[in-house]
């Protein structure tokens, strides 16, 4: 039905703490890949982000994989980057996504194509992520396309954006977050948090600007399976992983890395859910999706609320 709300929005609006994860579409046309992931997550999470050709590697489209997830019991958050489509293609695809019953949309710039498997390609960036949010808000509220013509039956997505609390310069990043929310972001997912103390400081600034009351702030975490994985994460630009956590992983010793990774993730979740202004948790279990049910269960998030 037009205008009806998705599960994620209903949960957040009810004041309940949301729990979400990711479904990375396959680098193939294999529907069963998505169906299997969805079946593992059904009833465990409120929604799953379905990535849009992440790191610029060609994968099944976010919208197609989102649809497969939705008919297999997991509400998707469609992702749309500005890298690959101009405003005609973006709007067309999003009308289609909405027509298929998809209700959540996360808007991103998209990793530059130089990181992926088609570095030879042309990029688009006809609109940027803030412009896209603004345009989709206008479509929702005023029923108009970006070009100004009327849309009789607009797509009315629950709009999301991303933010990295640890990116520099902080002042500029906060300006950008304010712009994203002003443009139309209703929820904001953060980059993976390892340094809770630093995140608390950032949230204080977010709260002082009142941003947590204008958009739901959802804290992201990554769960690491090995020492190498947390060490690599520490090297990613814009990621802040305290040495103490890497040490903790190392101290656990070979053979115990996966259980220590879970233990670290559980501790982070426990701390993050207490931070004032945080409305939900988003678990990024890159390459280790099967661990999500364990994390959700051990965090005491089950059963997930059902809101009519």
């Amino acid at each position: 039905m037009p205008g009806d709300k998705g599960n994620l929005q209903k949960i957040l609006e009810s004041g309940a703490f949301s729990v979400s994860a990711e479904i990375g579409p396959p680098m193939s046309a294999d529907a069963n890949f998505v169906i299997k992931k969805a079946s593992e997550l059904k009833g465990i999470i409120d929604s799953a982000n379905v990535t849009d050709n992440q790191t610029a590697v060609v994968r099944m489209s976010s919208i197609a994989a989102s649809y497969l997830a939705s008919v297999n019991g997991v509400e998707p958050v469609v992702q749309m980057t500005c890298r690959d489509r101009n405003r005609i293609a973006i709007q067309s695809d999003l009308l289609g996504a909405y027509a298929l019953g998809l209700r959540n949309l996360l808007v991103l710039s998209g990793d530059h194509q130089c990181f992926g498997n088609h570095p030879q390609s042309k990029n688009v960036y006809d609109v940027d992520s803030i412009q896209l949010l603004g345009s989709l808000k206008r479509m929702k509220e005023e029923g108009v396309f970006m070009g100004g013509s009327k849309c009789k039956f607009p797509a009315e997505f629950f709009l999301g954006a991303t933010v990295n609390p640890f990116a520099d310069p902080e002042e500029l990043q906060l300006i950008r977050l304010r712009k994203k929310i002003k443009a139309g972001a209703q929820f904001v997912q953060t980059q993976a948090i390892y340094d809770v103390a630093k995140f608390e400081e950032w949230m204080e600034k977010v709260r002082s600007l009142g941003l947590h009351k204008q958009a739901y702030i959802i804290a992201g975490i990554v769960v690491n399976k090995s020492l190498k994985s947390i060490e690599m994460t520490q090297l990613v630009p814009g990621m802040l992983v305290p040495d103490a956590l890497v040490e903790r992983m190392r101290a656990a010793g070979q053979g115990n890395y996966d259980s220590e990774g879970v233990s670290i993730a559980l501790d982070l979740i426990a701390q993050l859910r207490k931070v004032e202004g945080v409305s939900g948790i988003h678990i990024m279990a890159i390459g280790w999706e099967s661990i999500v049910p364990t994390l959700v269960e051990k965090s005491g998030f089950l059963p997930r609320p059902v809101i009519e």
Partner: protein, 221 residues
């Protein structure tokens, strides 16, 4: 100015296959300044091509001429005789020069000797960087004199993407993040508040997306 780089001898000599003579046409403006297509480079290239042709068992006769500008018909007219004196023309002008020569000599093959790179500046000896895309709707007043259309890898209009780190762009640690530069300038100028304003979606018709462009100035016609 327009920055260009010479193509490899290999590519140029391949494109000249079958010709016995060629005029190497230099250009006296941008490509002279960026040392890729001036008279000096044309003479050096002409010699190199003759030697290369010989080493491949062929024979190529070259001559050199240097119009003041290849992008103005009056200078091509001035050099008409020299330019037309061989079987083909190898232009060391930018893409505009090559095409204008082709218009001037409809019955001759005109070949490019350079790759035209960008509109940019000279930062150091032998070091140029891109500054302008000629998008036809300059927004530098809003961004502290740093162009995000050109210098942000994603042409972001409203701030840095998540890939900006320590002032550098995600694509390359040697490339500055344009939005870091914009932030630094606006902060220094005490105009940071202006960055809160959302730059609305752009009308790209003023850029190449609107089709090939032309400028008609009645006041100077």
């Amino acid at each position: 100015m327009i920055i260009a780089e010479q193509k490899s001898i290999d590519e140029i000599i391949s494109s000249l296959e079958g010709f016995k003579s060629a005029v190497v046409a230099a250009c006296g403006t941008c490509v002279t300044v960026c040392m890729s297509g001036g008279e000096k480079e044309a003479i050096r290239l002409a010699d190199a091509l003759e030697i290369e042709a010989k080493s491949r068992g062929g024979c190529l006769k070259t001559s050199v001429t240097c119009p003041t500008r290849q992008c103005d018909m009056e200078f091509l007219d001035e050099n008409e005789e020299a330019l037309g004196s061989a079987e083909c023309i190898l232009s060391l002008g930018c893409g505009a020069g090559v095409q204008f020569l082709a218009e001037k000599f409809p019955d001759k093959v005109v070949l490019p000797g350079l790759n035209t790179e960008f509109i940019g500046v000279n930062r150091d000896i032998g070091y140029w960087t891109e500054m302008c895309q000629g998008c036809g709707n300059c927004m530098l007043a809003k961004t502290g004199g740093v162009c995000p259309v050109t210098r942000c890898s994603k042409s972001n209009f409203n701030g840095p993407c998540g890939g900006s780190s320590s002032g550098k762009c995600e694509i390359d640690p040697d490339t500055d993040c344009a939005w870091q530069l914009i932030y630094d300038r606006m902060k220094r100028l005490g105009r940071l508040d202006e960055l809160l304003e959302i730059n609305e979606i752009r009308d790209w018709r003023t850029s190449r997306d609107g089709g090939p462009r032309s400028v008609v100035r009645e006041d100077v016609r």
